[in-house]
C-alpha cells in the first residue's frame, strides 16, 4: 500500500512535469514569434539605413504627432501623418478611424511595418488620458535629448 501510494504520487508528479514542460515550450515559441520591439523615429531611420531592421519585421514606434502634418490620402479613409522624437520624424499611414485621443502634438504609439520610408500602422494607440505620456514616447524623447518633464499645464 505504501509503495502504491508513492507510485501514485510519482505518476502525478511525472504527469505534472510533462504538462509543465509542454506549457513552457508553448510559451517560449510564442514569445519568439510575437515580441515586438520598440524604436524611436531616429532609430528606425538609422537601423534601416544600416540594414539592421527588415521591412518584414513588425515594429512599434512612438513619438509626438507633428503639428500640421495630418492629411487624408487615397480614398479619404487613410490618414497620413508624421511622428517625431523632435530629432527625426517618419511618415505614418493608417487606414481607418483613429482613436479619439489622437491629436496633433499628442504622444502616440503605433504598431506596423516600415517599408519605403513609410510606416504602415496596423494599430495606433493613443491614451485614455490626455495628461498621460506613453513611457515609450518619453523614452524616445529622452534619447533624442528633447525631453522636458511636462508640467501639467492646462
Amino acid at each position: 500500500m505504501a509503495l502504491k501510494r508513492k507510485h501514485r504520487r510519482l505518476s502525478f508528479v511525472a504527469l505534472g512535469l510533462l504538462a509543465l514542460g509542454a506549457a513552457a515550450a508553448l510559451i517560449l515559441t510564442a514569445f519568439e514569434d510575437n515580441i515586438v520591439f520598440f524604436h524611436s523615429p531616429t532609430e528606425i531611420q538609422e537601423k534601416f539605413a544600416a540594414n539592421e531592421l527588415k521591412p518584414a519585421q513588425r515594429l512599434r514606434i512612438g513619438g509626438l504627432v507633428v503639428e500640421g502634418s495630418v492629411t487624408k490620402t487615397g480614398d479619404g479613409a487613410t490618414t497620413r501623418f508624421k511622428v517625431t522624437d523632435l530629432n527625426k520624424s517618419i511618415v505614418v499611414e493608417y487606414r481607418g478611424i483613429l482613436p479619439d485621443l489622437f491629436r496633433e502634438g499628442q504622444g502616440i504609439v503605433a504598431e506596423g511595418h516600415y517599408n519605403n520610408n513609410v510606416f504602415t500602422a496596423r494599430e495606433v494607440l493613443a491614451k485614455h488620458d490626455e495628461n498621460y505620456m506613453p513611457p515609450e514616447v518619453a523614452a524616445a524623447l529622452k534619447k533624442s535629448g528633447q525631453w522636458k518633464p511636462a508640467g501639467k499645464e492646462k
Binding site: R5, R8, S11, F12, L15, G16, A19, L20, A23, L26, I27, T29, A30, F31, D33, N34, I35, V36, F37, F38, R60, K72, D75, G76, A77, R95, G96, I97, L98, P99, D100, L101, V109, E111, L125, K127, H128, D129, E130, N131, Y132, P134, P135, E136, A139, K152, K154
Partner: protein, 665 residues
C-alpha cells in the same frame, strides 16, 4: 467642514485598523479574551469611519465643492448627476478610497455575520484583514489624499475624462473592486489558518462562499469592462490582452481555480495546502493588478497619468503582504496534510487538472504582462507583448480544459470510471461532431479552427445538459418524478450547471466573433450604401446634436437586410462622435443593434474635406451578444449557488417535511 470630517474619519480609520490588526492578534496568541473581544467591534467602527470618509468625498462631488483638488480635477457643474457620483471613483484617489471601503465592508461583514466562526479563527481573520486595511489607508493618506484642498477655489472643474462618462463604466469599478478586494477575505482566511496551523472542512466551508461572491463580482466587473470597450472604443473588439485587462483577468483565473480546489478541500479533505497557496496567489494577483494599473509602469491603453512614488508604495505593500504570507506558508504549509487519497481519474483528479491548467494559464498571462517590464529593467530595449502571444499560449491551454470540464462532473469522487463517463456522453459526442462538421461546411470562410471552437462549445453545453438530465433521471423515471427531482436539486449544483453552461455559450460567442467578423472602412457621402455581413447600410445624414455637456456629431444609417424588400423592416442606427466642452475631447459612441446571430455595428468618423463624405467603419460581429449572455448566466450561477443554505455555515438545515408525514391535528 464636511470634507475635513471625512479626512479626519479616514485618519481615525487608519488608527482603528492598526489597533485591530495588532491587539486582537496578540490576544488570540495569549488566549486573552479581553483583547480578542476588540476585533469585531473595531472592524465595524473601521467600516463606519471609512463610510463617513467616502460619503464626505461623494458629498463634495455631488455639491461640486471646487475647493477640493480632486473635485476640481474630475468634476464639473454641467455633468449629469450619475457622473458626478461615478466621478468619485473615476480617478486615482477616489478609486483607492473605494478600494478601502470595500476592504472594510468585507471585514465588517465577517464581524457581523461570522457568529458561528471559531472565535480564534474569526479574530485572526479580522486581524489580517485590518492589517491589509492599515497598509491601504496609509497609502491613501500618505500618497493619494482625496481631500486635499486648493486655495483659491476655481470657479469650475476640469470635468471627468469623457471616456468614463458612460453608464457601463460608472458601475465597472465598484463591481470589479468587489471582486478584486473580495479575494482579500480568502487571503485573510488562508493566513489565519496558517497562523492557527489548522485547515479543516469547516474552514473550507467558510472560504467557499466568499470566493464565490468575489468570483461572481469579478466575472461581472470584467464582462462589464469588456462590454464597455466594445461599444465605447469603436474598434469592434472586446478584449485586447492589454496589461490592465490582464491585471483583472489573472485574479479571475486564480479565483476560478480556488473556487474548485476549495470544493475538494471541503468535501474530500485533500489539496489543503494547495487551496491555501491559491488563496494567497489570488489576492497577490489582485494587489499586483492594482500596482500595474496605479503605477503606470506598463504601456497600456488604459494607463492614466500617474505618480511613481505611488507605485513604489504599492509594490512595497505587495512585497510585505505576499512575501509575509509565503514565508508563513513555507513554515506552516508542510504540516497541513490532507487525508483524502484519490486516483488520477476521479472527480478530484478532474478538479486538479482544472487547477493545473488555470494556474499555468494565469502564469503565462503574468509572464507576458511583465515581460516588457523585465526587458526594460535589464535595459535590453523596449518591447511589447501583444495579443498574438496571449492567443497562441492561452487558447491551447483552454482546449483540454473545456474537454475535461465536460467529463469531470460525471466522475465519482476518489475513483472514477472514465469509460463509463464517456459512454454516458455518447449522445453529446455525436451532437458535437455533427455540429462541428455542420459549422465547417455551412458557414463559408469557416476555418477548421473556428469549427473546432464551436464544437468545443457544443460539447460542453450538451455535456452540462446531459449531466443535469442524469441527476434528475430524465426518461428513466416518469417525467413527473424527474420534474420533482429537478426542483429538489441543491442550489449549489444549479450554480455549477449555470456557470458551466454560461461558459459554453461564451466560448461560442468568442469563437464566432473572432473568426467570422466582417469589417468595412470607407468614406461615405449622403445617400451612399455599403453592404456588410448581409445588411445594407445607407448613410442618410450627419448632423450636430447638443448633449448635456457635449456636442454630438450624429450620423443616421438606414439598414436593411439584403434581399428584404420594402422599408418596413429597415432599422436606423445613430452612431455619434461626441466632443466634450470642458476637456475638448472626443469620444466615439458606436451604434449597435444586437441580433441573435450577430451585432450590427456602425461608427462614424471624421469628415473628409476633399470629398465632403465621412469616414465610416461598419462591422458585423457574429454572436457577440452570446458572450454577454454567457457571462450573465455565469454570474447568475454564482448567485444561485450563494443562496444555497449549505453555504451558510451553522445555518440549520431546512427541516424537510415529507408530504404525508405531516402530523394530524
Amino acid at each position: 467642514m464636511i470634507v475635513e470630517t471625512g479626512h479626519f474619519a479616514l485618519i481615525l480609520a487608519l488608527f482603528v485598523a492598526a489597533l485591530q490588526g495588532t491587539l486582537p492578534m496578540i490576544g488570540a496568541h495569549r488566549r486573552d479574551q479581553a483583547l480578542m473581544a476588540i476585533a469585531a467591534p473595531a472592524a465595524l467602527i473601521q467600516l463606519a469611519l471609512v463610510i463617513v470618509a467616502f460619503a464626505a468625498l461623494t458629498y463634495a462631488f455631488v455639491t461640486s465643492d471646487f475647493s477640493v483638488l480632486n473635485v476640481v480635477q474630475n468634476s464639473h457643474t454641467d455633468k449629469p448627476m450619475l457622473y458626478k457620483i461615478s466621478g468619485v471613483w473615476g480617478n486615482h484617489e477616489g478609486s483607492m478610497l473605494l478600494w478601502a471601503l470595500i476592504l472594510s465592508l468585507y471585514g465588517g461583514a465577517i464581524a457581523a455575520f461570522g457568529k458561528n466562526l471559531r472565535p480564534s479563527l474569526k479574530v485572526r481573520v479580522l486581524g489580517v484583514q485590518s492589517l491589509i486595511a492599515t497598509g491601504i489607508l496609509a497609502f491613501i493618506l500618505l500618497t493619494s489624499n482625496p481631500f486635499t484642498r486648493v486655495v483659491p477655489a476655481p470657479i469650475n472643474g476640469n470635468s471627468l475624462n469623457p471616456l468614463l462618462q458612460d453608464p457601463g463604466l460608472a458601475f465597472h469599478p465598484p463591481l470589479l473592486y468587489l471582486g478584486y478586494v473580495g479575494l482579500s477575505i480568502t487571503f485573510s482566511f488562508a493566513v489565519a489558518a496558517l497562523i492557527e496551523g489548522r485547515v479543516d472542512a469547516a474552514w473550507a466551508r467558510w472560504v467557499r462562499p466568499w470566493t464565490l461572491a468575489a468570483w461572481g463580482f469579478l466575472t461581472a466587473g470584467i464582462s462589464l469592462g469588456s462590454w464597455w470597450a466594445y461599444y465605447e472604443l469603436g474598434w469592434g473588439g472586446w478584449w485586447f490582452w492589454d496589461p490592465v485587462e490582464n491585471a483583472s483577468f489573472m485574479p479571475w483565473l486564480a479565483a476560478t481555480a480556488l473556487l474548485h480546489s476549495a470544493i475538494v478541500s471541503e468535501k474530500r479533505d485533500s489539496l489543503k495546502s494547495w487551496t491555501i497557496f491559491l488563496a494567497i496567489i489570488a489576492f497577490g494577483l489582485s494587489l499586483l493588478g492594482t500596482f500595474l494599473v496605479r503605477s503606470g509602469v506598463i504601456t497600456s491603453v488604459h494607463a492614466f497619468a500617474s505618480d511613481p512614488t505611488r507605485g513604489v508604495f504599492i509594490l512595497l505593500l505587495l512585497v510585505v503582504t505576499i512575501g509575509g504570507a509565503f514565508a508563513l506558508f513555507a513554515w506552516r504549509g508542510p504540516s497541513l496534510k490532507g487525508s483524502g487519497l484519490f486516483q488520477p481519474i476521479s472527480r478530484e483528479g478532474g478538479l486538479l487538472l482544472n487547477n493545473f491548467l488555470l494556474t499555468v494559464a494565469a502564469a503565462s498571462v503574468l509572464l507576458g504582462t511583465l515581460y516588457p517590464l523585465f526587458i526594460d529593467v535589464l535595459e535590453l530595449g523596449k518591447v511589447s507583448v501583444g495579443a498574438p502571444y496571449f492567443e497562441s499560449v492561452f487558447i491551447p491551454m483552454m482546449i483540454p480544459m473545456l474537454m475535461v470540464m465536460a467529463i469531470a462532473p460525471f466522475l465519482k469522487w476518489k475513483r472514477g470510471d472514465f469509460l463509463g463517463a464517456t459512454a454516458r456522453l455518447k449522445i453529446a459526442l455525436i451532437i458535437t461532431i455533427v455540429g462541428g462538421l455542420l459549422t465547417w461546411s455551412i458557414i463559408d470562410r469557416a476555418s477548421a479552427f473556428a469549427a473546432f471552437g464551436m464544437a468545443l462549445a457544443i460539447w460542453l453545453f450538451i455535456a452540462v445538459l446531459t449531466e443535469l438530465a442524469e441527476r434528475i433521471k430524465l426518461f428513466r423515471v416518469p417525467l413527473i418524478e424527474s420534474g420533482r427531482r429537478l426542483l429538489r436539486q441543491p442550489r449549489a449544483s444549479w450554480g455549477m450547471t449555470f456557470a458551466h453552461a454560461g461558459l459554453a455559450i461564451m466560448v461560442a460567442g468568442m469563437t464566432a466573433s473572432s473568426a467570422w467578423r466582417v469589417e468595412s472602412i470607407q468614406v461615405m457621402k449622403f445617400g451612399d450604401s455599403v453592404t456588410v455581413g448581409g445588411y445594407t447600410y445607407t448613410l442618410k445624414d450627419v448632423r450636430e446634436v447638443p448633449g448635456p455637456n457635449y456636442i454630438a456629431t450624429r450620423g443616421t444609417f438606414i439598414v436593411t437586410q439584403s434581399g428584404a424588400s420594402g422599408e418596413d423592416d429597415a432599422l436606423t442606427l445613430y452612431p455619434e462622435k461626441r466632443t466634450y466642452k470642458t476637456r475638448k475631447m472626443t469620444t466615439t459612441e458606436a451604434a449597435i443593434h444586437p441580433t441573435f446571430l450577430g451585432d450590427l455595428y456602425a461608427v462614424v468618423g471624421d469628415k473628409d474635406e476633399k470629398s465632403g463624405g465621412y469616414v465610416t467603419r461598419i462591422y458585423f460581429n457574429p454572436l457577440v451578444s452570446w458572450m454577454w449572455t454567457g457571462a450573465l448566466i455565469m454570474v447568475l450561477g454564482a448567485g444561485i449557488s450563494l443562496s444555497d443554505r449549505r453555504h451558510r455555515v451553522g445555518a440549520p438545515a431546512k427541516s424537510k417535511i415529507v408530504p404525508g408525514s405531516v402530523p394530524a391535528e
